[in-house]
């Protein structure tokens, strides 16, 4: 199987500190890969480096055989790479429905064409489906900024899936989400994985969530990959346990 996303020897240093220190990983089509590791182990920096939000110091990223190193988030989104954010990143003054439409409309038609398109840019129906799926019907018309942290988190995730991306990088999707919703969220992600066929890379601290969602898990410590493999294996790894306990 040819890898879908391939990250080679990714490095990002701030002065003498190597936040990401030579990480190599690959993700296949439709695969869900989990990334775990203690706080400050460089997971989010790795994401930001892959996604063009910050400039990596070294290394390369390939997506579908194309070198995408250092591409801007805009260019990546055009190639079908989406992401969610660790901290809340919704359009606070737009309604939930507009948030979802805004995440998809730019992939419909041309820019001048969209000026004359219907106000919902033809994404309204899809947005309503997504709202149903994430059970946000009762707040669909409220400004996203007025909602609870957990709800905004769900919107954030729904937004990432609106344009049916081929690859999604999820940064701590469960953080701050009501525990009762975590199972539901996992089911949703599995469903989306099946229906849209995209690949996921998930950063998460919730072990239970990762174990049940990801067939393949990577553990990062101090900017390096410490262990890799099926969740049960990684979990049993002595070094991983030490890294977590020592933290």
């Amino acid at each position: 199987m040819t890898p879908f996303l391939e990250v080679k020897e990714m490095r990002k240093s701030y002065g003498a500190i190597n936040a990401v220190d030579g990480v190599t990983l690959s993700v296949g089509p439709g695969e869900i890969v989990g990334v775990i590791g203690p706080n400050g182990s460089g997971k989010t920096t790795l994401f930001n480096s892959i996604l063009g939000q910050i400039k990596p110091t070294g290394g390369a990223v390939e997506f579908c055989g194309e070198d995408i190193t250092g591409m801007s988030p805009l260019e990546l989104s055009r190639r079908g790479v989406g992401r969610t954010f660790q901290t809340l990143q919704v359009f606070v003054k737009l309604s939930v429905r507009d948030n979802l439409i805004a995440s998809a409309q730019e992939f419909k038609g041309t820019m001048p064409g969209r000026l004359f398109a219907k106000p919902d840019a033809g994404c309204g129906h899809h947005a309503d489906q997504m709202i149903d799926m994430f059970r946000l019907q009762h707040v669909a018309h409220l400004p996203a900024g007025n909602l609870s942290y957990g709800q905004q988190k769900l919107i954030d995730i729904a937004m990432a899936f609106m344009p049916a991306p081929r690859l999604v990088l999820l940064d701590e999707p469960c953080a701050g989400v009501n525990p009762s919703l975590v199972d539901q969220l996992r089911e949703l992600l599995l469903l989306l994985n099946k229906s849209q066929g995209g690949s996921f890379v998930v950063i998460e601290h919730n072990m239970d969530f990762i174990m049940k969602l990801c067939p393949h898990v990577i553990c990062m410590v101090e900017g390096k990959v410490l262990a890799e493999g099926p969740p049960s294996e990684v979990q049993a790894n002595r070094q991983v346990l030490e890294a977590y306990l020592g933290n």
Partner: protein, 292 residues
């Protein structure tokens, strides 16, 4: 050749005053993320305060100056910080910028309506006359301005680099969070910055008002020049403000004399625009990476 040197010297003297204002401007920006659009009015107010102390209270110049420094520190330093910057900065830069614009208009009109709309004379602390250095003739006022502004800048730099408090202030300017971790009293250091800005403004007023005359709108020009100077030199660099100020002053003089007095401001303005577009961190500034 003598003309050129003379133009450069008097331009540097004017630029030194711009630099004082620009210095305060960058200090505020570094320490608290404040872009102060009322910086020019911060020069105008002390000018009127000094006039009040001299003419109405009948005090000698130096007493008036010291008293004005004190009042400015309370009014333009402490009160400005507590009443405007502290409650606004959490909303982000834009509301604060808008508020300082409001402050600029408010203070200007207050002086115009409540004090006087007309220009008032203001005596120089330096004598009239020229200092001859061979063919070169430099006015005492320019020499005095350069010496005084230079002293202020050098002592400020010494304070920032050589004293514990100064270094703490620099640490706050570079990274507020790490400074806090290091146990520095961030709030206090930021307050010091505001107080220093107030004093710098008073000195600038002392030097600039004899030529500008004390008038409610005298700050418009100097505020704008300080703004150019800060951007040209580098918004996040103290040395940048100095370079920017002197550059703006000298360029103005040279343009006025050799190109056209009508475009006196033009060359400095073009430099300002070029810097914004091609070197936004300023001539001496460091690039800041975008935060996610």
């Amino acid at each position: 050749m003598v003309d050129l040197v003379q133009l450069i010297i008097s331009g540097t003297a004017t630029g030194a005053i711009y630099a004082l204002c620009a210095l305060g401007f960058t200090l505020l920006w570094q320490a608290s993320g404040t872009i102060n659009f009322a910086q020019g009015e911060f020069v105008m107010v002390p000018a009127f305060l000094m006039l009040f102390f001299i003419n109405t209270a009948g005090l000698p110049m130096w007493v008036a100056f010291l008293l004005t420094c004190l009042v400015a520190m309370v009014l333009l330093g402490y009160t400005f910080k507590r009443a405007m910057v502290d409650p606004l900065i959490r909303h982000g830069v834009i509301p604060l910028v808008i508020a300082t614009l409001g402050l600029s208009i408010g203070v200007k009109q207050l002086v115009k309506a409540g004090v006087t709309a007309q220009a008032q004379p203001f005596n120089s602390i330096f004598p009239d006359g020229l200092l001859s250095l061979g063919a070169l003739k430099v006015s005492y006022m320019d020499v005095g301005t350069l010496v005084l502004a230079g002293l202020i800048v050098i002592s400020l730099q010494t304070f920032l680099n050589r004293t514990v408090t100064g270094r703490a202030m620099q640490a706050v300017a570079q990274n507020t969070d790490s400074a806090r971790v290091l146990g520095i009293n961030v709030a206090r250091m930021v307050l010091y910055t505001f107080l220093i800005n107030a004093v710098l403004s008073v000195v600038a007023a002392l030097l600039v008002t004899p030529t500008y005359l004390a008038k409610f709108d005298m700050g418009e020009s100097i505020g704008l020049k300080a703004f150019y100077a800060a951007i040209i030199g580098g918004f996040n660099q103290t040395r940048g403000a100095l370079l920017g100020g002197v550059l703006v002053g000298v360029l103005e003089n040279l343009t006025g004399a050799y190109i056209s007095p009508a475009y006196k401001e033009g060359v400095a303005l073009m430099l300002f625009l070029v810097v914004i577009i091609f070197k936004p961190e300023g001539l001496l500034g460091k690039t800041e990476e975008r935060k996610v």
